[in-house]
Amino acid sequence: MTVGVVSFLRGQAWIWSFLATAAVWMATIIFTGGVGGGQILTAALSFAIFTVIVGIGQMFVITTGPGNVDLSIPATMALSGAVTTKLMDTQNELIALGVLVALGIGICVGVFNYLLIRLLRIPPIIATLSASFLVQSTAIAYGRGLRIKPPPALADFTTAQIAGVPVLALCGLAFTAIMGLVLARTMYGRSVLAVGQNMRAAWLAGINVERTRLMTYMLSAMLAGLSGLLLSGFSGGSSLNMGEEYLLASIAVVVIGGTSVAGGRANVPGIWGAALFLYLLVTMLNTFGASAGLRLILSGLIIITVITLAGGGERKR
């Protein structure tokens, strides 16, 4: 029985990200002498949820095959935050409209990304990077550095907690479960996996490869837009550089979480483990009193180490 459990767990790539998370959390707690363990977890859940949302979008993109990656996530978050906070103008009645606009911005960016890839026949890295220049500029020109407060109801929702568990994290958990089902059980999810494993075979099997890719880039950008809206609610307003850290984070959580960078194999629970790990890592370094420079060096090195251990190995091309 126990042997069965162990061998089952060993087969799950996501287990490593949770083990790493637990190790980092323990190290922090031991250092503080057992103080604040609960608060640290609450904070980790509150912050990790944004990484989880964009990470899931990035995971679908990366799963569609080698070379597929969305570098326009930070710019999309900034644009969505800037546009929706200005639009909602601190009024609760306009939140629904704000959500629609955030998703709409995502759809536009996603379609634009896909068209660049398809029409110019350039690698997604370059297409999404070029698109992100335009999106970022639009955000700068539109936002003009103004910091508008989010509607109170949105701020309350994004910061609410039930017994120390952030409401947003619970919603995120439900959302993750849904996306896991989408990936494993729906026509679209199966198509994403099939395209990622072998694009030509998927095409021969009658899968609409191009529509799958279009939908995946739209999904990623829509989640980035939604995340931009929620993050500006959470942090009391949008800022132009609020998406910056999610460029590395969104890719890192996918790889650390056990999704194959070669595509065709996704890991949904791993996103959570990896997002919590990234946040707790910074917390641990802060608790240890590391200077800003040392913190940067260590987080860079640890991310590379974990990726070296977790990912890679197989031939990607």
Partner: protein
């Protein structure tokens, strides 16, 4: 569009030079006073560090990888240059050599563990920035005199940045495009399996290309502080984007080891001048990044059109 006697392949390799010529013509049209020794010198001041960073990026692109850490790396070199290289030259040189070694090791890690280069280099960008902050916590320091003297060199007739760009482009062009090992290095991007089967070490090729990227990153950082005379950890944050954009404008393709050193330098010059042009046109600084993105997309669209003509 491209039927008749026009050779699509030639047209594509002429595209970087054509874009630069069009941009120059537009600049001279809107601001005739820029058409002088002094005007060009001023507009192209930062062309040398940007061209060197672009070449660094091009080496990485040659082996089908992308370097998202070159900006912070140039910043780190600037910090070392403005502190240790000025105060303790031997230690400074040793540190710079160490940086180049780390770059080569980064290439080895990416190859051996088959990791996505964007993740590894993004992670390393934190490491470079962290070291830079430790070396020089606040902007300042002093660039060595010889770097300042070199970068403010007055050459008769032709402005120094142009002379430097031509020399750099020709040297790299000769080494990478016209030497026998250069062919192997490009082949490592074009058809890794074939190169490996022919008995060449792919590991060595990757390490050499990343090492060269490190060398040119160091040169970029040193030439940069020769101009600014002091250092800052964030001085070159934008160079990551500049270098990628410059390499693309210069005709680099992201698979297959198809690159062009002369093109990359032309791309870097185009990018540097595009900034001045937008200022002449009174385009709001808000749109600077966006305009660069638009130029990129435009050039890529032109190239796609030409390739379509080539395929016919």
């Amino acid at each position: 569009m491209f039927h008749g006697h026009l050779n699509a392949r030639m047209l594509r390799s002429a595209l970087p030079a054509l874009s630069l010529a069009v941009l120059l013509a537009a600049i001279f049209y809107t601001q005739p006073r820029a058409m002088s020794y002094f005007g060009l010198n001023l507009m192209l001041q930062y062309a040398v560090p940007i061209a060197l960073a672009t070449l660094a990026q091009m080496f990485v692109i040659t082996v089908n990888d992308l370097d998202l850490s070159i900006g912070p790396f140039v910043g780190l070199v600037a910090c070392i240059g403005a502190t240790y290289l000025h105060d303790a030259p031997a230690l400074g040189l040793f540190m710079l050599a160490g940086c180049i070694g780390l770059y080569a090791l980064m290439g080895a890690l990416i190859h051996l563990r088959n990791l996505p280069s964007i993740v590894v280099t993004l992670g390393m960008s934190f490491v470079w920035l962290g070291i830079a902050v430790l070396v020089l916590p606040t902007p300042g320091g002093k660039a060595p005199e010889y770097l300042k003297a070199l970068m403010s060199l007055q050459v008769p007739l032709v402005p120094f940045p142009i002379v430097a760009a031509v020399v750099i482009a020709l040297v790299v062009q000769a080494a990478l495009m016209h030497s026998s090992y250069g062919v192997v290095l490009r082949g490592a991007g074009g058809n890794p399996k074939a190169v490996a089967r022919a008995g060449w070490s792919m590991l060595r090729a990757k390490m050499i290309m990343f090492g060269l990227a490190g060398v040119f990153g160091v040169l970029s950082g040193l030439s940069l502080i020769g101009l600014t005379t002091s250092g800052d950890a964030h001085i070159a944050d934008r160079y990551t984007l500049y270098s990628i954009a410059g390499a693309i404008l210069g005709g680099a393709e992201f698979v297959g080891g198809r690159v062009s050193p002369v093109g990359a330098v032309l791309g870097a010059l185009t990018l540097t001048l595009a900034g001045s042009f937008l200022i002449f046109l009174r385009v709001s600084p808000d749109w600077q990044i966006g305009a660069q993105g638009a130029i990129l997309i435009l050039v890529l669209a032109l190239r796609a059109l030409i390739s379509r003509g080539e395929a016919r």
